[in-house]
Subunit: 134 residues, 4 copies
């Protein structure tokens, strides 16, 4: 399981002093980007090669609030990979190690030069296969 | 069905020129705020009275991208209401009237003065009951 | 003077319940986009033609806070235009019509196809000249 | 000079693939928060004690774009401190160490319990004095 930590930011907190629910969705993406980067495939490099990963479906359950000032831990686990889609399970944990939210994010693959859905390139597909449930 | 329209914003678009998937989650909330406002219960008024509506669960399916420059139409339909939880179905439509994303958002009720989960106040519960599937 | 109104959004407010200072910078841009749109040159259309307007300098003075729930009024006035740069004065007003922040934003012109700074195209330059101090 | 590094995020980039100008303003704040944290006064702790630091004025000059995928370096230098106001000079640097933007940010002090402007508490004032031009 891949883990990435970073501080919450003041503007991410809402009038209740807790991190806005939309920010968790962004934390999930940041986690996936850092995981890809750790595999040598940061989203920026993929994008430069014309490969982008649009989110096609997401679910998130919010269990407990996360306050401004806490350090976020976001986790990334690849659960399914089928050539045209990858499904991730992700969590956001707070300072005390408790889970604040957990979600499932499905992404597709787009060839941005052709402007259409594509299959995951072979080299990356191989990496994804090795990473399932890792 | 309640409908609210507004222009996309430049900073909401990502390097592909399309609105980032986290923004749809924000559009959904803006739609619920405007719907509440139309019923005389804007989120700001509720908050001033110590009532907040934390999102406890959300799902979103992304069907087609929304480009910067399009006018967003966000819809709000209350599907379930049970005293301690309200469930909304929402859509985001683009310039051509096609659905770009659809989601389900469940919110709870918190008494921010007491700092804990509460039941929806009676007056608002009455309004919610009348609005189901409206 | 061009004026555009819209509701504040919940996620834009910080733990003090007031709109985060970075959002005013975004309101200024939204105002310029709507002003351009009113002139037939929305930022999306310009971008589609390969013309973008990077901010090269900005200043903002924050006079009084803006609370979530208020309707924002953003103003746009073109003060200077010199072929390679345009300078705008902008304000953000709240529900009571008082000025909450005022700023100056200088933008340049970039030909995104060539990937470099350019002069403002003649047709748009003509419009800008007519709009100075309007 | 205090320095804080972190990766750019995908949603911070605009359709040109570069970080949106409003995000630099947020990077500046994140830098100040991390600097305060390093001094034992994170913004969250100050806020918990009823002390907040509203931005009263800011200026930013954008020199060169920052692309998604780059690591951001944000710098923080306290230039002036006078009891009721602190003025910071800050920079954003990219992967190659070149300055992409530089700004000046003035903050005031608010006693959030009393709801009004206050002088900086003595203990923190002492720390600020030691940090000037550090």
């Amino acid at each position: 399981m891949f883990v990435y930590k970073f501080p919450t930011r003041y503007y991410e907190a809402d009038p209740m002093g807790v991190i806005h629910h939309s920010e968790y969705i962004r934390y999930f993406e940041l986690g996936r980007d850092r995981w890809m980067e750790s595999l040598g495939y940061g989203l920026d490099k993929c994008q430069a090669q014309g490969l982008v990963f649009p989110v096609v479906k997401l679910e998130c359950r919010y269990l407990k609030s996360l306050r401004f000032g806490e350090t976020v831990t976001v986790t990334v686990q690849l659960r399914e990979f089928g050539g045209a889609k990858a499904v991730f399970e992700q969590q956001v944990l707070g300072d005390d190690g408790s889970v604040r939210a957990e979600g499932t994010v499905a992404v597709g693959f787009i060839d941005s030069n052709a402007g259409r859905i594509c299959r995951c390139p072979a080299e990356l597909a191989e990496i994804f296969k090795q990473q399932i449930n890792n």
